[in-house]
């Protein structure tokens, strides 16, 4: 399970998280189920937060004439 979770994209993780929130809030959930939702939700929120900590270092690149990607810096004008 946890192996799969690491493969999740941020979007998938946050969508799963949202789904779990909705399921839990629906009420009428058996306690065992609620607990497992809770655990899964916590795991997903951790995944999301981890991903949010992982900022792209070399975020921007540009395609040159030959179709190769080069890193790109904004020319600050002021």
């Amino acid at each position: 399970m946890s192996e799969d979770k690491k493969e999740l994209s941020f979007e998938e993780a946050i969508e799963s998280l949202e789904t779990i929130v909705e399921k839990l809030e629906e009420g009428e959930v058996p306690l065992e189920k609620a607990l497992s939702y809770y655990q899964e939700g916590m795991k997903l929120s951790k995944i999301c937060n981890d991903k949010l900590k992982h900022v792209q270092k070399e975020m921007v690149s540009i395609m040159d004439e030959t179709g190769d990607l080069q890193s790109f810096d904004i020319q600050e004008e002021e």
Partner: protein
């Protein structure tokens, strides 16, 4: 003398020939604003071209205006090519327009409107074709000029809001005649990168001419046919291009395109925190709800008085037991009653009883017989005595004792009438103690009979 005087027609014809021989007037290039435009039903266009200082009556025949790529309108500035001549009937000089095209901005507006209409009809702007913009794109492509404000605005905004996405710039020419094909090939290049999830296509502000590439049909088609969702970002708020209509999402400026492309990471973090909070609250409320259920169950009658459960059952069992015994007894009684009834019936038909009955009956019958016999005998005796008495009364001997006699003749026939007798007839008279042999002396008949 009258030869000195020209006719109106002659003068007009002369003037006309003069004008038509002038090489400048037969090939006029002119610009002006259209007014009094009238497209006649036969197909000719009549209009006045004017500027601030003058006006000229103009006509464009159907044969020429058929090839126009735009619809002339009042107020439109146009460039025309034609010939000046005279309409003889009215003595009016006018411009015969052979070619006409919109002047400057007017031309671009017309082309814009025409392409917009065409693409709208073809369904390019339909919401049905709009693709969903991903919420959290991992890789964004930017098709724009690598220099200038637009790319700077886009990248700083993306970095500031959501520094988790990869950005790849596809540098293109964004103005001039090479712009459109360059933009088209930039979009194509972006599609060759496998993992790009969202494209921003645009440029910064500029004049209508500067932005013109984004009103070109080939750019519109490239955007329409793209499989990656595209946010268009051309110029400023007020600029609207064909690309904006075709794109899946229109941003007013490059900065706002970047804002539409990614969420703010602070918002995302807050959102995650809210989710966590909601999960915790939901779990808590689930637990509280279960606790409440447990408490309720706990307080329920049966849990408070668990004995009651078995007591009731015991009572029930007892009741059943009693009912069973009662029923058994009833059944026994019923059987006994049936048995005794049968026994009674059986006893009734016992031979001894029958014999007794018969004997009794027989005795009774005998008794009856005896008594009836006795009655009968007595009756007979009584009858006999009475008959005897009657007989005694009737006995003639008894009567003769009292003095009565019985006369009869020699034939032993009783004499009951004087008619039977004649004088001297013998008559025998029996009396009580013998017979008198007599002779009739006289016959006297009683008169009163």
């Amino acid at each position: 003398m009258s030869d000195k005087y020209l006719t109106v027609s002659a003068l007009t014809k002369y003037l006309k020939r003069k004008l038509e021989m002038d090489r400048h007037l037969t090939n006029v290039w002119m610009k002006g604003e259209i007014s009094n435009f009238n497209h006649h039903s036969r197909g000719h266009m009549y209009l006045t071209l004017k500027d601030e200082g003058a006006r000229i009556q103009s006509v464009m025949f159907a044969g020429n205006n058929r090839s126009l790529t735009f619809q002339p309108e009042n107020g439109m500035n146009v460039l025309v090519k034609g010939q000046v001549s005279i309409f003889e009937r009215y003595g009016q000089y006018q411009l015969y327009i052979h070619e006409m095209e919109p002047d400057g901005l007017g031309s671009l507006f017309a082309a814009f409107e025409q392409l917009k209409k065409k693409l709208d009809k073809a369904g390019y702007f339909s919401p049905l074709h709009k693709k969903q913009i991903p919420m959290y794109p991992n890789h964004i492509g930017v098709v724009t000029s690598p220099t200038g404000a637009a790319i700077r605005d886009i990248i700083t905004t993306l970095k500031r809001r959501y520094p988790y996405t990869k950005v790849t710039i596809f540098p293109v020419i964004v103005q001039g005649e090479h712009a459109a094909p360059s933009i088209v090939s930039g979009i194509k290049q972006a599609h060759e990168q496998k993992d790009i999830e969202l494209l921003i296509v645009g440029r910064g502000g500029g004049s209508l001419e500067d932005l013109w590439a984004f009103n070109e049909e080939e750019v519109a088609k490239a955007i329409f046919n793209a499989s990656i969702p595209i946010i268009s970002a051309v110029g400023h708020e007020t600029d609207t291009t064909i690309s904006d209509f075709v794109a899946d999402l229109r941003a007013a400026t490059p900065t706002s395109a970047a804002e539409l492309a990614v969420p703010n990471f602070l918002d995302v973090q807050q959102q995650i925190d809210r989710y966590v909070h909601r999960i915790q609250r939901a779990l808590l409320s689930t637990i509280q709800q279960k606790e409440h259920q447990i408490r309720q169950l706990d307080q329920s009658y049966l849990f408070r008085f668990p004995d009651q459960l078995t007591r009731q059952k015991e009572q029930h069992v007892d009741q059943l037991d009693m009912r069973m015994k009662h029923e058994a007894q009833n059944a026994l009684h019923r059987s006994k009653r049936v048995f005794s009834n049968l026994l009674q019936q059986l006893n009734k038909v016992h031979p001894e009883v029958q014999l007794k009955d018969h004997l009794f009956h027989f005795k009774q019958t005998m008794k009856q017989l005896e008594s009836s016999m006795k009655q009968r005998v007595e009756h007979e005796e009584r009858t006999f005595t009475s008959l005897l008495d009657k007989l005694m009364l009737l006995n003639p001997l008894e009567v003769m004792k009292r003095g009565f006699a019985i006369p009869y003749d020699h034939n032993n026939t009783f004499v009951t009438s004087v008619q039977q007798m004649h004088p001297d007839d013998d008559v025998f008279v029996d009396v009580q103690d013998g017979t008198l042999h007599c002779v009739v002396k006289q016959v006297e008949e009683k008169k009163h009979v």
